[in-house]
């Protein structure tokens, strides 16, 4: 019967061409949206590598005072913040704090291997405690690094994979420039600071030492507050810091709020695309339903004939569902041939599994869609009285 259906649809390919084309384009759009959704969902379910609950970000814009004076005030601010009983830990960082709309990337080389656009985080010794970063090997930065001959560096697994492969990275030297080397002191499994929906990228952390760089200024202070700490403390803290850094611009935001804002950046286009795709699918479904109904009603004579030749009502029903599935298969074969190029050609450097998952979901959705559209017309076809159907012909 399956061979018969394929033959029937193939012989009617001219009249079915538009339907197949519609299914093909519907599949492509669905595949595109599904790829995006699968990519984001997969990333979302992966560990971030840090805890952002109860973490605030204090952003400080210094005044036009001298760099040394601002540096001195910054040291006072850090001491002041760490002294609050409401604060567990506080750590300086550069502008690319987690969920910030700012990135700092750099390339590092080890031997003949080179990392691709790694995220560079400048952080101080308390960063590990503030964000509760989980080290899988080695250690975080500490006072012992003050006297270190090489600059300490902590890298993530992705960075390790790119630079060292299977080689043990701890203790290895990575040149920063001709005269200065980084030395790997620790490894974290994950760190996705840019967004919950972003893929794991190579990343590394270098150390900020206020004592060792007396003119530098880092304008972001990550603060882990104790649970239940609220707006009242925020007001008090800002007021007191304003007393130290007069004319400084201060801004406090929770990482949770920043996470939500960053999520919107991904979710809004995804929802918009999803709506467009949903609308398209609805249109395709209505079109399919109409065309199938029309086609089936045009084939009353054939239905009557098949009943006369021994087809039961159920077999007629299954035949029409089968025809629609075959029709969809022709459209999908074309679509899959096109879509499969994405993982094969590694388009957008997205993992192949994302494309294959999107492809599988899209195929299933299209089959469900066409079967859903064919159920009622097929049921109608099955209930046609054979004598009447033959008489109509």
């Amino acid at each position: 019967m399956i061979r018969h259906l394929f033959k029937l649809i193939w012989n009617r390919k001219k009249s079915n061409f538009l339907l197949m084309t519609e299914i093909f384009f519907c599949f492509l759009v669905l595949f595109g949206v599904m790829s995006l959704v699968v990519y984001n969902v997969r990333n979302y379910t992966k560990p971030l590598g840090f805890e952002h609950d109860n973490v605030w970000l204090l952003t400080m814009r210094p005044s036009a005072d001298s760099a040394a004076l601002n540096h001195q005030k910054l040291e006072q601010v850090v001491q002041q913040v760490r002294a609050y009983p409401e604060v567990s830990h506080a750590a300086l960082t550069n502008s690319n704090a987690p969920f910030a709309f700012s990135q700092m990337t750099d390339n590092l080389s080890y031997g003949n291997k080179r990392s691709s656009q790694a995220d560079h985080y400048e952080v101080d010794d308390d960063y590990e405690d503030v964000l509760q970063v989980q080290l899988s090997q080695g250690r975080w930065f500490g006072p012992e690094d003050n006297a270190a001959h090489h600059k300490p560096i902590v890298i993530n697994r992705e960075m390790q994979r790119q630079l060292f492969g299977e080689e043990e990275p701890l203790g290895k030297l990575i040149p920063q420039n001709d005269s200065v080397n980084y030395q790997v002191v620790g490894i974290v499994d994950h760190f996705r600071g840019y967004s919950e929906y972003s893929a794991e990228r190579p990343a590394f952390f270098t150390r900020i030492s206020l004592q060792q760089s007396d003119k530098s200024f880092w304008g972001e202070l990550l603060i882990r507050v104790k649970p239940g700490t609220g707006v009242a403390f925020e007001e008090k803290m800002v007021q007191e810091i304003s007393g130290i850094g007069k004319d400084w611009t201060l801004e406090v935001a929770t990482l949770e709020k920043m996470r939500q804002n960053k999520s919107k950046l991904t979710m809004v286009p995804m929802i918009a695309l999803g709506l467009v795709c949903g609308f398209l699918i609805l249109n395709v479904a209505l079109g399919l339903f109409g065309v199938l109904w029309y086609n089936i009603s045009r084939r009353n004579g054939e239905i009557g004939l098949r009943r006369a030749l021994g087809a039961s009502a159920n077999q007629v029903y299954r035949q029409f569902i089968g025809e629609v599935l075959v029709l969809a298969t022709f459209g999908l074969l074309l679509g899959v041939a096109f879509a499969v190029q994405f993982p094969l050609l590694q388009v957008f450097e997205v993992e192949s599994v994302v494309y294959f998952l999107a492809l599988g979901i899209s195929v299933v959705v299209i089959y469900i869609l066409v079967v859903g559209c064919a159920l009622y017309p097929s049921r109608q076809a099955a209930t046609i009285h054979p004598a009447i159907a033959l008489h109509e012909e």
């Binding site: 018969h4 004579g301 054939e302 004939l305 098949r306 030749l309 087809a311 039961s312 054979p386 033959l390």
Partner: protein, 234 residues
Amino acid sequence: MITLKNIEKVYQTKTIETVALHNVNLHIPKGEFVSVMGPSGCGKSTLLNIMGLLDEPTNGIVEIDGNPISRYRDKELAHIRNQKIGFVFQSYHLINDLSVLDNVELPLLYRSGTSAAETRRLALTALEKVGLSARTKHYPTQLSGGQRQRVAIARALIGQPEIILADEPTGNLDSVMGEEIMNILLDLNRQDGTTIVMVTHDENMAQKTERLIRFFDGQQVSDAKTNAYDYQKV
């Protein structure tokens, strides 16, 4: 083989009630070639549909091989149609998108246990029987009316049915083609012992069959053996 007892068929619409068949009693024994004649609208095709289990009588009993069909469900009726009955229609009812061979194979699609190779072999045999072996790959639209009707007969034959129900099989054909089709049906009846019930408007064709039943206004008005058939038989 087929027995009809007190058959009545009434078509009911909101405003009109049309009696298509009234008090029809018939018995068609195995191996008989029966023709049914009557003016248009007298209920001939309705009778054939009821005999072919395509339609149900409003009242009365239809028996196939002594079994009343009213107890059967749709699936069982379909099975009987597939196993025992072959249909030939005036307008051929071929599927234009399928080749001659594929059209002939259709009944066996609904019969489980027949392999594709066996189906192909039976289809070729059926086409050979009707003299269309050379047209297997043609499509119905590439054939003449007579050839199309032969394909329809081959399709009716492929399942080796005990009964063939032919609804004006020569109605759309000229006299020469009609004669050819009639001869094929006569051969089937004589050589294979197939029971044939044929609805026709053509008195000459009807006279070639063994028994002629006449209908008028939904009622059976005569039922008699024909002389011509007896003569040919002798």
